[in-house]
């Protein structure tokens, strides 16, 4: 066994699952997205408890700009992830059909919710009248005009898509942990660089 592994560079699990894993770019971008999403959750709960902005209180300035910047970057990262996954598709894992279907649905819903959360957040910000400067360098155009009703409308969509995203991410993580505890090699595909 050891000799075979060293010659082919392939482990027993890979031969069993018939998959060599995702590309290096996909793995790195996937984990960047994961860290970004949880940072956005944790930091947003804190920043919304900061004093409302005024001439004296500017506590919200930096966290909100960072939140919007990371959110917009997240869409770009997701686009890169989808692009590299289209170009390099690992062989489907050897799991039951219902698991494969659940994983496929979970992934699609996850991607849709990430985009919906980011776009609704940006639109809410646009209609609030507050500008967005991407990474403190690029002034993004305000797609909306100052409109309180639309701001609240998109803010509500942002809120609920984020809660949905957290729920679907929990399902996604549960699947990963389940496969890692079974030690069936499926999770390794997204952990090997």
């Amino acid at each position: 066994m050891s000799n075979t592994t060293e010659i082919t560079g392939e482990t027993e699990i890979e031969r069993t699952t018939g998959s060599a894993g995702y590309s290096r770019t996909a793995v790195i971008v996937h984990w960047l997205i994961a860290v970004s999403i949880f940072f956005l959750f944790a930091s947003s709960w804190w920043m919304l408890a900061l004093p409302l902005p005024s001439d004296v209180f500017t506590y919200r300035e930096f966290p909100f700009q960072l939140h919007k910047t990371i959110g917009i970057t997240l869409v770009a990262l997701l686009a890169i992830l989808l692009f590299v996954r289209m170009r390099h598709r690992p062989a489907p894992p050897a799991v039951s059909p219902w698991m494969r279907r659940l994983a496929a649905v979970d992934h699609v819903v996850l991607y849709v919710l990430i985009v919906a959360a980011c776009v609704s957040g940006y639109l809410s910000s646009s209609y609030s009248g507050w500008g967005t400067t991407l990474w403190w360098v690029v002034d993004l155009p305000n797609w909306g005009y100052e409109n309180e009703e639309l701001n609240v409308f998109f803010s509500d969509i942002h809120l609920w898509t984020c809660w949905g995203l957290l729920a679907v991410a929990a399902v996604h993580i549960s699947g990963a942990v389940y496969h890692a505890f079974r030690d069936d090699g499926i999770v390794r595909r997204m952990l090997r660089v």
Binding site: G9, E12, W31, F39, F41, L52, V56, A176, D183
Partner: protein
Amino acid sequence: MSSATNHMAGAGPAWQSWLGIVAVVLGVLLSAGHGTEWMKQRVILNATPADGRFPAAECPEDELIEEGLSVAECEQLVSNVRSFVVSAPAWFPGLQSLLAAVGTVLALVSVGVGAALVDRRRWAPAAAIAVFAALTLIDAAGFVAAVNAGPILRDVYLWNVLLWFFVHLMMTLGAAAGRASTAGA
């Protein structure tokens, strides 16, 4: 050493996969937590009025509706920051920023180490012990800081940091025990 020879042959011990995925998931969550804590310290330090005085909160009605806040809650937002500022000893923001910055880096490293454990890299168990132990030390330092920061900040930080301390302690011991059992097999 080539990538192939760097791997253990076959599946390897199952504990590496179990501990590895726990390290990956907790590492992602912890990096978000430490990153937020670092930002919290920097923002409060930089945005607090230089004279340290907190005027009355401004609570325009349209903002209250947008945020779903009452006037009392809006005023409390300022009181919360004020309470944080007045209860922090002079050394606290600097130390807490440092611990959060180092903690963020170590948490991200623990994601990589966790991935290496799942992938059965030969160096992963030793690296896991080192990184998890370093995270335990960061938690211990945070615990000592919170203990000495007064009752308000103690209430905010102490239990949370104690929880992480025990999580990282168990992960360190788990990696050490797993490595010892693998070496003895």
